[in-house]
């Protein structure tokens, strides 16, 4: 409960700051302090110190897994704010409001990691996405940003409608909104009701939309490309992974008990292959690194979908590892990207000569995304592949998956080729030494987690 209340509370504090604190640059410091407080509060909660003791009537269920994920999400946001705080200020006059919305999004993230009731799922998704509609349009005078916001809003509200419909149908089928213990209720209906299946299919569609899985991914490239880069960095990482955490819970509880009535594995294998296919093939043809990263986020989502397919302990661990590997690497890449004046591949030409530290850390982030050993990204992919292989069926999905992973090397390494093997003078915004230090720390975390995964997993047990 700590994290939910602190994040909402600090969001309100940030709102008041917007007229109480006049100094523009102090907002990001307040936000960083807030995130630290939030992180501490969540860690307290992990070890059983709950400041609030609110009875949610089984609507929320706290697990160690959820707490660890909260910590990862909050820590990633902290890193994000520290690395790109200055660039957020360049966006416009409403910096404090920007951070307010970030805190509200985090509140939604914390709800999603703990929900035990379909209404809470709905609430979490809405708290998560409504601030994002605003953030996407936060570059007010930019037509592309406005277009992206409108697109995102229209498509997003449509998928939310689907979700509500699905929840209603599931209620009709089982007689409860609760995720767990619902089986007792549905047994009254002699087996699995048809309404529940249809409801789950609706939910599946809307969740696929939220995590940009094919064939519901079409909004992603336009929105990610149109939104200001600092926003894309946030919504492509933390928000997306939170969607997966919610999705995984839905799958492990509701879909696994209905698997006698409908072959979820087949459905997910089709979604996985489609997502990997669209994400990877279109990413190859991009000329802009930002748009490439948008498509790459679709293809990475394809790998995260492996967890929903297999739903075993490898899947949940793998999703945690994926959230670390993917969030940190993508935040790092975007942190450098927002400093670039030219975000096409050519804009990166010769970066290794002029900015060796930036190029080296960027290379590590790209290695991690491509799944090269000794980075967290490798272990993330490893767990995902292992989770399906452990189920013993559908091994062809794994083989197809690794072939797509090999394709992804093509576009990730194009950035490395530009940075290291081509000549040019990249134009960049100014940045300080602390920025470089932040990137180095980020790269170090990726390598340490990649070499010693127990650093992360021990948290689940101790």
């Amino acid at each position: 409960m700590n994290a939910i209340i602190f994040s909402a509370g600090w969001g309100i504090i940030m709102m008041f700051c917007s007229f109480l604190v006049k100094n523009q640059s102090s907002y990001r410091h307040i936000a960083a302090v807030g995130l630290l407080v939030l992180l501490a509060a969540n860690i307290f909660d992990t070890y059983g110190v709950d400041f609030f003791h609110i009875d949610s009537g089984k609507m929320l269920a706290y697990t160690r897994f959820g707490f660890v994920f909260n910590s990862i999400a909050i820590a990633s946001t902290l890193i994000y704010v520290l690395l790109t705080g200055r660039d957020i200020e360049r966006l416009g006059r409403y910096t404090a409001e920007f951070f307010t919305l970030v805190f509200f999004v985090l509140c939604g993230v914390c709800l999603l990691s703990a929900y035990n009731n379909l209404l809470m799922l709905f609430l979490g998704i809405e708290i998560l996405t409504i601030p994002l509609y605003i953030l996407t349009g936060s570059d007010k005078r930019n037509l592309k940003s406005n277009e992206a916001a409108l697109k995102y809003f229209l498509m997003g509200s449509f998928s939310t409608g689907l979700m509500l419909m699905g929840i209603a149908l599931m209620y009709g089928g089982t007689g409860t909104f609760l995720l767990e213990s619902s089986r007792l209720q549905s047994n009254l209906y002699h087996g699995i009701s048809f309404l529940e299946i249809v409801g789950l299919l609706f939910l599946l569609a809307s969740m696929c939309f939220k995590v940009s899985a094919a064939p519901f991914h079409f909004w992603t490239p336009d929105v990610y490309d149109g939104a200001p880069s600092v926003v894309t960095s946030f919504m492509a990482t933390i928000v997306k992974v939170a969607g997966f955490i919610a999705f995984l819970k839905l799958c492990t509880v509701r879909m696994s008990v209905t698997s006698t009535a409908i072959d979820w594995k087949l459905i997910f294998s089709i979604i996985i292959i489609l997502t990997l296919l669209f994400g990877n093939i279109t990413a190859i043809f991009q000329q802009s690194v930002k748009r490439m990263l948008a498509y790459s986020s679709i293809s990475q989502a394809g790998f995260m979908l492996f967890a929903l397919f297999s739903m075993n302990e490898y899947a949940s661990k793998g999703l945690l590892m994926y959230s670390v590997a993917y969030c940190l690497a993508t935040i790092g890449l975007f942190a450098v990207l927002v400093k670039m004046k030219d975000v096409t591949f050519e804009g990166y030409n010769g970066l290794a000569k002029t900015q060796p530290v930036l190029a080296a850390t960027n290379a590590i982030f790209l290695f991690s995304l491509a799944g090269i050993p000794l980075t967290a990204g490798f272990l993330a992919k490893y767990y995902m592949l292992a989770s399906i292989i452990k189920t013993g069926t559908y091994t062809w999905v794994v083989v197809a998956g690794v072939l797509f992973a090999a394709i992804s090397v093509y576009y990730y390494f194009r950035v490395i080729q530009a940075m290291y093997f081509k000549n040019g003078e990249p134009q960049m915004e100014s940045f300080g030494r602390s920025f470089k230090l932040g990137l180095v720390v980020l790269a170090a975390i990726i390598i340490i987690v990649g070499a010693f995964p127990q650093a992360l997993f021990n948290w689940l047990y101790f």
């Binding site: 090269i372 050993p373 000794l374 490893y382 292989i389 072939l403 090999a406 290291y420 093997f421 995964p453």
Partner: protein, 478 residues
């Protein structure tokens, strides 16, 4: 402990070397590091304390992976090859100029560490880690210091091997879930319970990865381009040592893990490799470029080793163990000469060369010795290995052996033709002002020539070194 040092020294040395700005000190430092590695490797071969050769520590308990390194007969001979070739290469290119020399030689050492890791790992996941990590420095070296088409060519090489290794990763994970104790240890992998159909699948997933690395026809298309475009110092590493990773994988992992599948598929694979040998030899005859000729000749040689392995005859396998070392030595010698000629005269084309023996007699003599070793003339080191491999292959199938022997004749044809066109005849415009090779090149070549002749006359130490492992291997796979 020795096993760990063999990896740690080049890693640390390489990382330090990346930051050395001064060219000559970078070269000197990397040479010293590589000599230390050589000393440690020799220590590993001659030590009598068995516990020094073994290293084992818990690493990823969650996954069931440990850092297990061991020097047995197979890894001894390949570590020795890696450790010998690196200082020889560094001496041979000591006077060449490389921009950002610190980074170049640092990456070379990191690559050496990766290869040593592959040879020493006794844990499947660790093996995979090193397998991939050896590739990253290779990618950067070839793409930064290579020829004009380097970026595309190296990328092709990278993607090819990356696809292969990902398929291997799938197989490794699959076998892991079927091991009795859920561990990545080599022994558990040997005892995995798989059905016949699963074994077939896993066999092919593994084989493709190794076949790409070796390379075996039809997965060889990256190889001539990469050898041609990468900087010659690194081509030596690639062809001398790195391709042995593929053969090593077959010996250490593939054959003992899936002996039945290997037997049932051996006819396909031997046929493929023999076709590949013939094909590569025929193409080699038509080449006008020294680098490409040697690249194709290497495909033929590695193909023979692969065929001898899958023929599963004792003599052939003994031959492969020896030949892995000898082929590395010989091909590095050839590349050194090519590098000297290219650096001095600016061309590698036969049509633009000739009569070099008059201008560079020492180089000519040393090159002829290396060439004779390449065609496996008796009393050179390669003869022993090739003879054993052919006798193994002959026991397996006389037809295949007969076809493969044609390649020996072709090898003599193209190699001697290369000597004739480059070193004999009249001097041409480009060789008019050529001069003899410098001291460091001669020194490197003399070391290699001594190895060629010593192991040609007296191959017994090498056979002794590997005998035990060969026996173990044969009992495993039969």
């Amino acid at each position: 402990m020795i096993a760990l040092l063999l990896i740690l020294i080049p890693v640390i040395g390489g990382l330090i070397n990346l930051f050395i700005k001064n060219e000559s000190s970078a070269k000197a430092f990397s040479l010293i590091v590589s000599l230390i590695v050589l000393a440690v490797a020799l220590g590993g071969i001659y030590t009598s304390q068995a516990d020094l050769l073994h290293f084992d520590i818990s690493w990823m308990p969650d996954l069931g992976s440990r850092i297990t390194l061991e020097l047995d007969g197979l890894s001894k001979i390949l570590s020795l090859l890696t450790a010998v070739s690196m200082p020889v290469i560094l001496i041979a290119v000591y006077k060449d100029h490389y921009p950002d020399a610190g980074k170049f030689f640092g990456l070379m050492l990191l690559c050496q560490a990766g290869m040593l890791g592959v040879f020493l790992s006794m844990d499947a996941l660790l093996f995979y880690f090193f397998w991939e990590l050896a590739l990253i420095p290779a990618y950067f070296i070839c793409s930064i210091w290579g020829g004009e088409k380097r970026i595309q060519v190296t990328f092709k090489f990278f993607v090819y091997t990356f696809v292969g290794s990902l398929l291997m990763l799938v197989a490794i994970i699959f076998v892991y879930f079927h091991t009795p104790d859920h561990s990545f240890a080599l022994k558990s992998f040997y005892n995995a319970h798989l059905t016949a159909a699963q074994t077939q699948w896993m066999f092919w997933l593994f084989f493709i990865a190794l076949a790409i690395k070796m390379p075996v026809f039809p997965f060889h298309t990256w190889q001539p381009d990469t050898y041609e475009q990468s900087p010659t110092a690194f081509t030596m590493v690639l062809s001398g040592v790195m391709v042995k990773m593929g053969l090593f994988g077959v010996i250490r992992w593939l054959l003992p893990m899936f002996p039945q599948a290997a037997s049932s598929n051996s006819s396909i694979i031997v046929t493929l490799t023999v076709i590949g040998m013939l094909y590569a030899s025929l193409i080699a005859i038509k080449q006008d470029d020294m680098k490409r000729l040697i690249a194709y000749s290497s495909i033929a040689h590695v193909g023979l080793m692969c065929a001898a392995l899958f023929a599963k005859q004792q003599a052939g396998i003994e031959g492969v163990f020896i030949q892995m070392f000898n082929h590395g030595i010989n091909i590095i010698g050839l590349w050194i000469v090519v590098d000297v000629i290219e650096k001095q005269l600016g061309t590698r084309k036969f049509s633009e060369l000739g009569g070099l023996a008059q201008k560079a007699p020492t180089l000519a003599i040393l090159f002829v010795v290396m060439c004779l070793a390449n065609v496996a003339l008796p009393l050179t080191n390669a003869f022993v290995g090739e003879f054993l491999m052919f006798s193994g292959l002959f026991n397996y199938s006389p037809v295949m052996a007969g076809t493969a022997i044609i390649c020996i004749i072709l090898a003599a044809a193209y190699t001697l033709n290369m000597i004739r066109k480059v070193f004999y005849g009249n001097t041409v415009a480009s060789t008019e002002h050529a001069h003899d090779s410098s001291f460091n090149v001669n020194a490197a070549l003399v070391v290699l020539v001594i190895l060629v002749i010593v192991f040609g006359f007296y191959p017994q130490p090498m056979i002794d070194l590997t005998r035990e492992t060969v026996q173990l291997f044969i009992t495993k796979i039969s």
